[in-house]
């Protein structure tokens, strides 16, 4: 573990998906269960500490 506690700059991942089935839209990925997102974040070693959404997207503040 880093000596000073600050472990450096962030890493950023951006993934785009496509699908042909109109039934999954308009929500698309926003249909993912929160539990599924939590499992993904578990692999990353993060947890959700705050969340908000509007008609376009959902935003989560995470903590390591």
């Amino acid at each position: 573990m880093a000596v000073s506690g600050f472990e450096g700059f962030e890493k950023r991942l951006e993934l785009h998906f496509f699908g042909d089935d109109p039934a999954i839209f308009p929500l698309g990925l926003r249909k993912l269960e929160f539990e599924s997102l939590e499992q993904v974040l578990e692999a990353v070693q993060c947890t959700v500490v705050s969340a908000v959404g509007n008609s376009y997207f959902d935003a989560y503040v995470l903590s390591e």
Binding site: K11, N54, S63
Partner: protein, 281 residues
Amino acid sequence: SSLFVYPTKIIIKTCGTTQLLKSILPLIQYAHHLGLALCSCRYTRGSFIFPKSQPFPHTSFKDEVTYLQDTIPSNLCFRKASIMPSKSSSHSWHVFTANDTTHTLPHMPYVHDNELLFTMEICMTELDPILARKFFRPSEDGKPGDSAGKEMTELTGINEINPEALICDFAFDPCGYSMNGMDGDWYSTIHVTPEDGFSYASFECVSSVNDNIAHVLRKVVKIFRPGTMSISTTWNGFGNDIWRQMASAVEPLGMKCRSFAMDQFPAAGTVVFQTFTARRK
């Protein structure tokens, strides 16, 4: 750290030694259950300050690229990995992109008509200690993270960067701060580690070349007054001088552009990486 979920796009930004790339496979599998398939991947980061603290596959960019190459489906066949330099060996920008051009463009629902959008990722260190102190919570204030976060957002003026944005903020204990902003389908995010000696703040947003990004940038610099700053600007397409606007925006605030690097990525557009340092008084 932050996670943004759009109908066809997911962005995860994490700091420290998290194993971010390990999210790709589960996300591809969950998206598949919804009938969605991956068509574009972009991975970016600054330099590791403590590389030996980074677990595999983050042990080196070479390992990260190998992991990404092995994990992403072969239909994303337009691929490129690049380390964009600056004058300082400890500041370079690492970019990996992979695209399946048959599905890339049409699915970008957030592309506004006739507007060229770009993403700006800013990393700031050596924050002004007096300003950074605002990101420490009063000891034992007993407040939950989100209400303490709201106070910090107002105290530091972060709420004025984009007064239109809905803000979700969180203040960690004893110090540290994160915020996500939502303005229509545009996101912005700020993460702060204020401890003196290794203070750090990041700001990221999506914006349009038609907007006054210089105005936003100036507000951000005034909130943190960093000693060093890097700005990575990404946009679809080629030929754009938004980066000039950024350099001239922060010059009057004493931030001098020290390096500039531009690179183009197949079916993924252009990235410009600039570094700035505060002019010595």
